[in-house]
């Protein structure tokens, strides 16, 4: 478990170091003015350098830990059951991000109520798949929640949420 964590730290350090390098390189294209002696690029550059330095420390620490891991069996001990669970978790996490993406995409194109109906229906079914067959309850929540939220914010607080493409009920549907 510890070994797995160290590997994660190593990968994280590398990604963050690359991210800081990308950001640092971007600062060279920042427009310079003679208004102030401190350039607009300085602060992002300092931040990128701090991030790069801290990431480098993380990389070195993790690499050293991995190198020092005397007991090779640690790696093997990560039992199959656990990695199977992680794989399953990763799939469900990916699905929930896809559901959120689809919900937001539909919200932008077709309207708030449609998008949030899809998001709620998808998420509730995914997260409650072990909870028995209560699909009717999830369906009611998925339909009622976006409608109530839309009407509340649209009518009471005059917040124009993305209107429905059919333009029925003052943008509700």
């Amino acid at each position: 478990m510890e070994l797995k964590k160290t590997k994660k730290d190593l990968v994280c350090g590398i990604i963050l170091a690359l991210f800081s390098a990308l950001f640092f390189s971007q600062t060279f294209s920042i427009r310079k003015t003679s208004l102030i002696s401190i350039s607009s690029a300085l602060f992002p550059q300092i931040s990128a350098v701090i991030l790069a330095a801290a990431s480098l420390v993380l990389i070195i620490k993790s690499a050293k830990k991995l190198h020092d891991a005397k007991n090779e069996t640690d790696a093997i001990r990560e039992n199959l059951e656990e990695s199977e669970l992680s794989r399953k978790q990763a799939i469900y996490v990916a699905i929930s991000f896809v559901i959120l993406f689809v919900g937001l995409f539909v919200m932008e194109r077709l309207g708030f109520v449609y998008g949030m109906f899809l998001y709620l229906a998808g998420s509730l079914l995914l997260m409650n798949r072990n909870r028995g067959k209560k699909w009717w309850l999830y369906l009611i929540i998925s339909v009622v929640t976006p409608i109530v939220v839309y009407l509340l914010f649209n009518r009471a607080f005059y917040l124009r949420l993305p209107p429905g493409f059919l333009d029925i009920g003052g943008g509700l549907l």
Binding site: I30, I38, L85, L120, L124, N130, L159
Partner: protein, 492 residues
Amino acid sequence: MILEGILNALSLECLLAIVGGVIIGIIFGAIPGLSANMAVTLCLPLSFGLDPATGMVLLVSLYLGGISGGLVSAILINIPGTPASIATCFDGHPMAARGEAGKALGVGILSSFIGGLFSILILIFIAPVIARLALKFGPFEYAAIGAMSLTLIASLMGKSLVKGIIGAALGLLLATVGSAPIDGALRGTFSISALSSGFNIIAVMIGLFAVTEVINAVEDSVKKGKEQIIQNVRIKGFGVSLKEMLGQKWNILRSAVIGTFIGILPGLGASTANVISYATAKNQSKHSEQFGTGIIDGIVASETSNNATIGGALIPALTLGIPGDVTTAILLGALMIHGVQTGPLLFKTSGVLVYTIFGGLFLANIVMLILMFLGIRYFSRILSIPRTILLPVVMVLCIVGAFAINNRMFDVWCVLGFGIAGYFLNKVEIPFGPIIMGFILGPIVELYLRRAVMISEGSLLPFITRPIPAVALGIAVLLLAFSAFRTIKTRK
């Protein structure tokens, strides 16, 4: 004049405005994504139809209710209702998770009340003196205090110093996206025009906290199959004994002072105060290792300080006409619309109105205590709803909150982006506190640093020669050294 103002605040119209304002404020504060700012902004047109005193009392009640309500979702679902309650999550939710939700809420409500009361009393009795003192703070002082706060948070928030620094640096980098302060040069936009105004704190907070919480629930649903629901949340009174609260007296006093002081300083506000107070309480505590496991010290520090910023932010706003944050800027705008001239002469020209606002704020704090106390058992019932049903519904409200920032989908897409990033950062235990604080404090430090250098014509010497910046930077260096020493000692 003081008595007349307080009597005005006790009128039926004002009392109705206070109760209504506090209730709406609490609801806005408790729903992640909606904030005290939003409550005040959305109800601003409503105040125009009222007389100036009632209208202003309504707005300050919304402000107080909004800041106070944030603790509810922070404790119950681990998603801060507003940025002012970020640190409340750290100990509030672990307490709720082990069946002490009522106690955590009770401690949070009491702390909010005491913090609010402290700063309101300061506002009523010594506001002009403090405001004049705050005026002595120049760009060097602000930049140094900002840097010190950031160091304090980066070095104390996470389990690892390196990861804390990574978090703070990430926050700083994200904050630089958009227009630079003073000269408006575009940075880090990667030619995306929507990024020219940068990322919004609400979108960052929802992405990191709310989306990550939803994804954690998805993971748990794979791991456990069926989750355990905490149903028996019985509570007597506030759920906390007088002895326990008295044991927090120094924590309360320190946090109230920090909150009021930070509230006075323009730009910082409740979102910074709660995390700084939490970090300071952790630093001063004899059992700092217990912070984050669910102890009342963390809730007391966070909730006392965020409510203490309310009175603090009103001090420069009402005595000098300088708004400390967005909400006080809106309040000043509302005063102007009502034909009241703000500035140092406000107490002379509209003394009764000012004291009516003070009286209204004082009463709103009491109303908040009563309403939240009555609500504890109902708030706690939220925990009886399975998280797998509750969280997707909360997410819909978060999306509304993100959309409401600028009425555009871009901020909602940012929520998804920060959610994905937050999920991976959470996996590698990079704390969110320093990221948020880097994001909030970064622009402040940069703005004042650039102003300072403009004033001193390029010299950085005043950072050492002026007492406050020198002390603040000295503390920052010592904090880093202390944290590094502690890390090395722990490893040995």
